[in-house]
Point group: C2
Chain length 110, copies 2
DNA sequence: ATCTTATGCTACTATTTTGGTAGCGTCAAC
DNA sequence: GTTGACGCTACCAAAATAGTAGCATAAGAT
């Protein structure tokens, strides 16, 4: 039986998925890769070029992780979001809006 | 509407803030720290405990970075979001919704 | 006063992750 | 059959993170 203590629904079970996600996104280059794929599919080498010439070994690791997580896939047109992943990608666009506002605030206080 | 064609205005200037943000969030533990602060202020040691006993040296670096970015601050009640940062924190809550859906999909395909 | 407890760290070394370079196998065009 | 693009893999160097110890300060209890 799963955990019965304290909370009626297991707190572990309810927060684990987001923990996995945060760990995945928290690896270097993961967010950047997802950002670069925001509105187009890209080949391995095109991605590499856009990501400040990230080393192929790391890029490949990140792509494997994202494929395993079913956030991206790979076809003849290159790497891109899966249907599921695209909903996550949409949230990254929101980050851009926040960042724009943020930079204005930061500039104002320099 | 913002530019949608070929980046008529400086592409560097328009994407730099989000690049900084992605680099910041892409460091290990940064997202997790922000997640743990989502609905309460926490002391250094309380944060450490919640973040799987992250080493104090790394935690301190992350906190410094986030303070410099004016996303969090520190007062007598511990570390917590600034007004600006809380809008970013709100987006992390959305990540949780996505992650919940994601885990269901992943389970279904195992 | 002093003993305990909590806080917010810093210093140091070990381990893990990432970076950088070279190069291979496949394919398609020329 | 040579050239170029692609998607890698292997290898070692460099950088980031983990892990442990411990210090200084302050508040509260004895």
């Amino acid at each position: 039986m799963p955990d019965k203590s304290k909370r009626s629904v297991s707190p572990v079970r309810s927060t684990q998925p987001v923990m996995w996600l945060l760990a995945l996104l928290g690896r270097k280059w993961t967010l950047r890769v997802l950002w670069e794929l925001r509105d187009q599919r890209l080949s391995f080498r095109a991605l590499q070029a856009r990501c400040d010439d990230i080393s192929p070994s790391v890029l490949n690791r990140r792509l494997k992780e994202l494929k395993t997580a079913m956030i991206i896939d790979h076809n003849g047109l290159g790497y891109g979001y899966t249907q599921l992943g695209s909903e996550l990608g949409a949230q990254l666009l929101n980050l851009n809006d926040w960042a724009a506002k943020w930079s204005v605030e930061m500039e104002a206080l320099r």
